[in-house]
Amino acid sequence: MREIRQALLGADVSYKVVKSFIARVTERAVGEGVLRSVKPGQQVVKIVHDALVEMMGPVDHAINWSSKGPTVILMAGLQGTGKTTSCAKLARFFVRKGKRPLLVAADVKRPAAIEQLKTLGRQLDLPVYSEEGKRPPMICKRALKEAEATGRDVVILDTAGRLAIDAGMMAEVAAVAKKTDPHEIFLVCDAMTGQDAVNSAESFNRELELTGVILTKLDGDARGGAAMSVKEVTGKPIKFAGIGEKIEDFEEFHPDRMAGRILG
């Protein structure tokens, strides 16, 4: 069990998540009499793998589509995790399902953030809503009006990266959610995130009613233990994975593949 613990910590799974997970699988192994058997090794690995798959799953890429008016998707997360890029990826994903998305450039802070989303919108031939010099909550509220007026049935709100410990910025994104009542609120999380994943996930989940997680940069070689931490502390499904920089590098998340990757 020590080896499993070291493997999980080596994969960047949060310390407290590893602790409770090891306790659970030890209990299960004891309960199944595995640890008293002649060769517990293989059976322990199987119990751990199955428990991990169970924990990372179930498979869930459902979107809570609106029954009336546009479906609103809010994208939130720490700085540089891939939110803006993922907005474009999600938009393309929806276009392929026959939807007509509107992208909303509600990051008024980062230099050229609006331009970045507009460029991605042009690549997809999709409209991008933006305003100069206004605050994100009202920009997003007016964007919904614009969507209704122009027959757009999905609205994807790109927001500025923010620290979970920045009370003002967390209040701002909560205000965006309040003004737009999103059908989906995604935490966009970088797969190479370390121990801090629990802290930021907990805060974002507290301030926003997260409905899911998008895990980005999975095309790298980070083991991705942050996925386990985020899933465990929020209880919210990881719905999508970013697997590259191009707009088409996006897929539904596979819990079983992630379990194998984390275990190494």
């Binding site: 910590l9 700085q79 802070k109 690549q123 620290l163 410990i165 801090d196 940069k217 790298g220 920089e245």
Partner: protein, 278 residues
């Protein structure tokens, strides 16, 4: 972790937890705990009161280096190449260095050699305008090495003191992009022998143990002379730099502590280690 306790397994477990949760990682933490056990056996530590100061001393030693700050070239311009994985904070970190050296009266030029990402050139251009420094750029889609080449020519012609070269984010697992970075590096050296005089790799303080791999693999292709640890104003401790120093001899030169141009500080090992235990 409290003074006046005996050095036992429980105390070492608590120390392990502090190190692991700070992203020091399994391997480096194991090495550090071994050194603590050794110190206890050799009577350098005799009770719990001495263990934390001894631990801090070990960590500070691991992080010490002889040079924070940019090492200036013998003749201007000093060329600084900035690299790192996607979203680490390269472009913003360059803006901070530009603001700092511009404020010191140095002539600064920026090179927008991220010709790939949407609005990357626009982002750096806005910074150059806000700070009041020159920028060399081509259109998106241009060859980054061509931008680097032109930038060095301009830096020489305009008698700049420092040239900061921004590059596209790339994962070390992308061979073609690592080749591209290598090419930018070589082109800089062709124009000015000895350039780039500094190769700064930007690391995101929220990154876990993959940071070790990033530094090692980037470092295989280009000689990294310093690390810029960004986003240390968050709740992440950035302890991965300890794991890195445990394996590679690359100093942390700067830390990023916010999103504004003034949010950069020289790395001070003492302060960093104290913050781990705060």
């Amino acid at each position: 972790i409290v003074a006046g306790r005996k050095v036992d397994a429980d105390l070492l477990d608590e120390i392990e937890e502090v190190l692991i949760t700070s992203d020091v990682g399994v391997e480096a933490t194991g090495n550090i705990l071994d050194r603590l056990r050794e110190a206890y056996e050799e009577k350098e530590i005799e009770d719990g009161e001495q263990i934390i100061p001894h631990l801090k001393m070990i960590l500070k030693e691991m992080l010490e280096s002889d040079g924070a700050g940019i090492r200036w070239a013998e003749t201007a311009p000093t060329v600084v190449l900035v690299a790192g994985v996607n979203g680490a904070g390269k472009t913003t970190s360059i803006a901070k260095l530009a603001y700092h050296y511009h404020g010191e009266g140095k002539k600064v030029i920026l090179a927008a050699a991220d010709t790939f990402r949407a609005a990357a050139v626009e982002q750096l251009t806005i910074w150059s305008e806000r700070i009041g420094v020159g920028i060399v750029k081509h259109q998106t889609g241009a060859d980054p090495a061509a931008v680097a080449f032109d930038a060095v020519e301009a830096a020489v012609a305009r008698e700049a003191d420092i040239l900061l070269v921004d590059t596209a984010g790339r994962l070390h697992t992308q061979d073609n992009l690592m080749r591209e970075l290598e090419k930018v590096y070589r082109v800089l050296g062709k124009k000015i022998p000895g350039a780039p005089h500094e190769v700064i790799m930007v690391l995101d303080a929220t990154t876990g143990q993959n940071a070790i791999q990033q530094v090692k693999v980037f470092g295989k292709d280009i000689p990294i002379t310093g690390l810029f640890l960004a986003k240390l104003d968050g709740s992440a401790k950035g302890g991965a730099v300890i794991a890195i120093r445990d394996q590679v001899d690359v100093p942390v030169k700067f830390i990023g502590v916010g999103e504004g141009p003034e949010d950069v500080e020289p790395f001070v090992a003492d302060d960093f280690v104290e913050a781990l235990f705060a």
